[in-house]
């Protein structure tokens, strides 16, 4: 899917967003039920001191050699179950639905942002090959991980009823294996991105204005100037870096259970992992929207490396001025087969 097909693309995204919102709906009452029933785990018999101590996780001695075998009652498990099956799942679904819905609304409201004045036919280099590879490496991983990860979190409610336990079990097994093996590759991308791109993403005064003007997306008539990266991208970048690291660290904690971490550590890691992954995912929806359907001419930079001069002027005026000033690389004419056709189909 290197070549964007805006025509069918937007419909797909919209459809996906709506399905998500609809599917998440049944989970909502469940979530409220969990949140609204705090006493569900309080069953302590006050007369029994031993029992009480154990409920508090007092550890004993045992001949069974396994981590935490000495803990008789791991009450934290109750809390974990409550969080995962409750708020995490519910709010995660809300959030993703909101992201998808938001994108859909923006699209309805604003439509695709065209290159002002059409394509110039001349392009400038924006992403060199290694950077593009890095982006897609990370992006594809992220998407696979998201899909497989979400299958674990929501598959039982969403997919299982459609296909039955056996088929879903097989699928989930595959998803888990994929997720667990690909997961550790993800931080590589994140770290490289952080190393290579951080400089471009340092906040600047101009970002404030960009933000104030809604990034040129919310309001039709504004075209805030931006440097190499605009504030929105910068925000995304830092979300990717910090979110990615969080997801990766927690992911690794979950992925290598033999490192001596306790069950409680893993429980916490799991919640943080899934929450931050879903948090990222919401933004990723936005990012992807902007990179594809939302903005004409953006994707080609990440696909072929070069962007139309008009696009550059429109979206990254300061950057464009910077690179063309004093001996910067000359824009070239778009060659055959390179870049988007000048006029939309």
């Amino acid at each position: 899917m290197m070549r964007a097909r805006p025509g069918c693309g937007w419909r797909t995204v919209l459809a996906a967003a709506l399905t998500m919102a609809v599917l998440a709906a049944p989970l909502i009452p469940q979530g409220w039920a969990y949140l609204g029933d705090p006493k569900s785990t309080q069953r302590i018999d006050p007369t029994n001191r031993l029992w009480r101590e154990l409920r508090q996780g007092a550890a004993g001695q045992t001949q069974v050699q396994a981590p935490e075998a000495g803990v008789l009652i791991a009450s934290a498990g109750e809390e974990w179950r409550r969080l995962r099956n409750g708020p995490l799942r519910t709010w995660g679904a809300y959030w993703l639905a909101a992201a998808a819905g938001g994108v859909a609304l923006i699209f309805l409201w604003r439509g695709r942002i065209r290159i002002e004045g059409g394509r110039s036919g001349r392009t400038v280099e924006r992403w060199r090959l290694p950077h593009r590879v890095l982006h897609w490496y990370t992006a594809v991983l992220f998407l696979i991980l998201a899909l497989t990860g979400l299958s674990l979190l929501y598959g039982r409610a969403v997919v299982l009823p459609l296909f039955g336990k056996e088929v879903f079990g097989l699928y989930a097994q595959g998803a888990k294996v994929l997720h667990n093996y690909l997961g550790p590759l993800f931080p590589v991308g994140v770290i490289l991105m952080a190393a290579l791109w951080a400089r471009n993403n340092l906040p600047a005064r101009v970002d404030l204005r960009w933000l104030a003007e809604g990034g040129g997306i919310l309001f039709r008539d504004r075209h805030p100037p931006a440097g190499n990266m605009n504030a929105g991208e910068k925000l995304w970048f830092w979300i990717v870096v910090f979110g990615g690291l969080t997801v990766s660290v927690t992911g690794i904690i979950l992925d290598f259970p033999g490192l001596g971490q306790t069950r409680e550590t893993m429980q916490t890691a799991q919640i943080v992992h899934a929450a931050s992954a879903i948090f990222m995912l919401g933004f990723a929806v936005g990012h992807i929207y902007i990179g594809t359907l939302g903005t004409e001419g953006a994707l080609e930079g990440m696909v072929h490396g070069r962007v139309d001069v008009n696009w550059a002027r429109q979206h990254h005026l300061l950057w464009y001025e910077e690179i063309t000033r004093g001996g910067g690389p000359e824009p070239e004419a778009a060659g055959e087969g390179e870049g988007e056709p000048a006029a939309g189909a």
């Binding site: 029992w51 001949q63 498990g77 109750e78 179950r81 992925d255």
Partner: protein, 203 residues
Amino acid sequence: MARMKFLCDADRCIECNACVTACKNENDVPWGINRRRVVTINDGEPGERSISVACMHCSDAPCIAVCPVDTIYQTEDGVVLHDKDICIGCGYCFFACPFGAPQFPAAAAFGSRGKMDKCTFCAGGPEPDLSTAEHRKYGSNRLAEGKLPLCAEMCSTKALLAGDGAEIADIYRQRVVWRGAGAGAWGWDLAYGRRQRQNANRQ
């Protein structure tokens, strides 16, 4: 319908580990996996108490709730079983279980834990009762043979009781009457909930 439950009488359990070994024997459980374990608190000090614990076959089982592939289920007898063919070995049941019952043959890199294994109340698994496949995957199915779990049957001091909730509650209550005191029954509340206990006691 019987409601199968475990009860460990902490005033009797002496940490002899017969229950643990009986389980290994009966179910051919490999080294490293312990469907049952005995935990001693205040070890070597006054107040020392030992408690044998396995899957408690909870009424509102947390493991069932969190399993991503919904492979854990409760039988009509209240026994919590699971289908190993479907299990993906994610370990979530272990995170959720208050009693640390789910076991995994491994805890290796890339989250490969293998199929979850846990106490079946000696009731096998989803395969046809007493089939070879069932035995290989889950060990014995004593319930189908009309027998109770071997761990409890072999308990040296009869501290560990297994069977219909109402019946074992009766046995235990009788002991408490003899003793004139004692609050040594263990695990009942958390695993089975207050309502069930009251029911059991009323019967």
